[in-house]
């Protein structure tokens, strides 16, 4: 079987992975980026809205344009960054420190890197309700892929479940694509996403029903509607119930970090509710308990893409430094101060709590970098 041996393997070509690859390459390292999707850019290429943050995080620029900026940066390191798309890393074997990977459905090979940055992102969560398996119940990311990447109409009328940032943003994007948003149901007593995202869809007439959830989906073999219900303070379904006609139920109830490879590599994992799941312990360089493994982006805890890009920079820089490439002194501190400022808002407080749980000062027996 073919075996390749890059200096640095970056798994995932999204916001964090591309930033990590660019940063490592700028330090002089040779990088291989492996991306399971057909296109690079991860979730960035699905975002039509302008990003928050400051100039450093491309504030005021639409997400898909930020992907272009990152790809141009990667392009300037053509000689040191190679990229494999439509390629899935399927496992890690500690016996010989080797990954298996699959390109398309046929070509199988091995990768044995010196350092690995796991930037595998996240996966959509689902909540239980009758018929939640019927075609037409789609994750919010899937709806974005359909309409914003491939220009396919996802449906005619949608019920959005969840008013976090993703639920709010995707509702707005659905309207831009010409899909009617019947309502957004949110189990909590307030929207979870940024207030301004809610305001811009409210003023277009979309109801956001707080303390409401979906009771069941309707349909024989595909979705034809949904029954929603009011919730009490214990989240019990107490009504009133209402039937909504829709051919699409979009699920935006949160994401879970994708961390199987980190577990397989023996990285010390920890369940951190504020980071939305099981994540690897890491130090300030984004190194995990396995000295060859770094993590960044949603795989290290669910957060905004702006933070994922900064974490990617830190991981890329640290992996290159660990291989002996000279890096600018103090750059990691600079990136950390950017992260801290991104995390100072309302949503950031929770993230900071989570980071505190999972961040270690250093690793026993390891030389401090």
């Amino acid at each position: 079987m073919k075996k390749i041996a890059p200096e640095i393997l970056v798994i995932g070509g999204g916001a964090a992975g591309l930033s990590a690859a660019a940063e490592a390459a700028s330090a002089g390292a040779k990088v291989l980026v492996v991306e399971s999707d057909l296109r690079l850019g991860g979730q960035l290429i699905k975002q039509t809205h302008k990003f928050f943050g400051s100039k450093d995080e491309y504030a005021g620029t639409r997400g898909y344009k930020i992907a272009d900026i990152l790809l141009n940066e990667i392009d300037s390191f053509k000689d040191s960054v190679s990229i494999l798309q439509n390629t899935t890393v399927t496992g890690y074997y500690t016996e010989d420190d080797t990954f298996t990977a699959m390109r398309g459905e046929e070509e199988v090979f091995q990768i044995k890197p010196q350092k690995t940055i796991v930037a595998t992102g996240a996966q959509e969560r689902l909540i239980p309700f009758p018929n939640n398996d019927l075609p037409g119940v789609y994750g919010a990311g899937a709806v974005q892929t359909l309409m914003n990447v491939y220009g396919v109409l996802p449906g005619k009328r949608v019920l959005m479940v969840g008013a976090g940032n993703i639920g709010l943003i995707v509702s707005y994007q659905l309207m831009q694509a010409g899909v009617e948003v019947a309502a957004i149901v949110e189990a909590g007593p307030r929207i979870g996403g940024y207030w301004v995202h809610a305001a811009k869809i409210r003023r277009m007439g979309v109801p956001i029903l707080l303390r409401h959830s979906i009771k069941k989906a309707l349909g024989e073999d595909v979705i034809t509607g949904a029954v929603i219900t009011g919730l009490n303070e214990k989240f019990e379904q107490v009504g009133p119930e209402e039937e909504i006609e829709c051919d699409l139920i979009c699920i935006a109830v949160g994401l879970s970090p994708t961390t199987e490879l980190l577990s397989q590599a023996g990285c010390k994992m920890m369940y951190v509710p504020q980071l939305c799941g099981n994540v690897a312990q890491r130090d300030r360089t984004m190194r995990t308990s396995n000295p060859a493994f770094y993590t960044a982006g949603d795989a290290s805890g669910i957060e905004e893409a702006s933070a994922a890009m900064v974490e990617g920079r830190i991981a890329g820089l640290s992996a290159a430094a660990a291989l002996g490439y000279p890096t600018e002194h103090g750059k990691i501190d600079e990136y950390w101060s950017r992260l801290e400022s991104l995390r100072m808002g309302e949503a950031g407080a929770r993230i900071c709590q989570g980071i505190e749980c999972v961040l270690v000062k250093g690793w026993e027996g390891a030389s401090h970098e």
Partner: protein, 170 residues
């Protein structure tokens, strides 16, 4: 409306009353400012500052902490709409009270289709999307050439505290 209902409405994304980050300009100054002044409705602390960085006159004050809500010096505002098109939250609006005796000129961000044209009648929507009147499109601009349009609508001055969006009837 009870305080509880007001809170519920605010918690679903509808501004209720004045709050930090969503304060109207002093009426006296506002009424005589040709070109209008910016109204910002951004009452939550979030890490964001393009309103300030896009402002050419220094009317939107620098952020000590990027998470602070925006503050405006309306004396300096010329109603240029650069912030209207730069704000990622579409939370900036310009309202010009000098437009005519009865009507104000509302300059609102717009990222939907169909795009209205000059002279077209549009529905004026409040913060919950309810139609509260009719306006006439006076101009459609694209200040930053990034496909966020600013639609200039003349509509009654009585709508000044409620009219924040438009519906274009095909």
């Amino acid at each position: 409306m009870s305080d509880k209902n007001m809170d519920m409405l605010f918690n679903s994304g509808v501004l209720t009353g004045e709050r930090e980050g969503a304060i109207l300009p002093p009426r006296e100054l506002w009424e005589k400012k040709k070109g209008g002044v910016v109204i910002i409705e951004c009452p939550q602390r979030i890490p964001c500052n393009p309103c300030h960085t896009s402002c050419p006159t220094g009317a939107i004050l620098p952020f000590e902490d990027i998470n602070n809500t925006p503050k405006v010096n309306w004396e300096k505002c010329t109603g240029c709409t650069l912030c209207v098109s730069a704000c990622p939250g579409l939370a900036c609006f310009v309202i010009d009270l000098t437009f005519s005796e009865e009507n104000a000129l509302y300059k609102l961000p717009y990222e939907m289709l169909p795009l209205p044209v000059k002279g077209q009648k549009v529905q004026c929507l409040d913060r919950e999307g309810k139609s509260v009147g009719e306006g006439t499109v006076e101009n459609v601009t694209q200040p930053r050439k990034d496909r966020t349009h600013v639609v200039h609508v003349s509509a009654p001055k009585s709508l000044v505290t409620i009219f924040r969006s438009i519906r274009v009837v095909k």
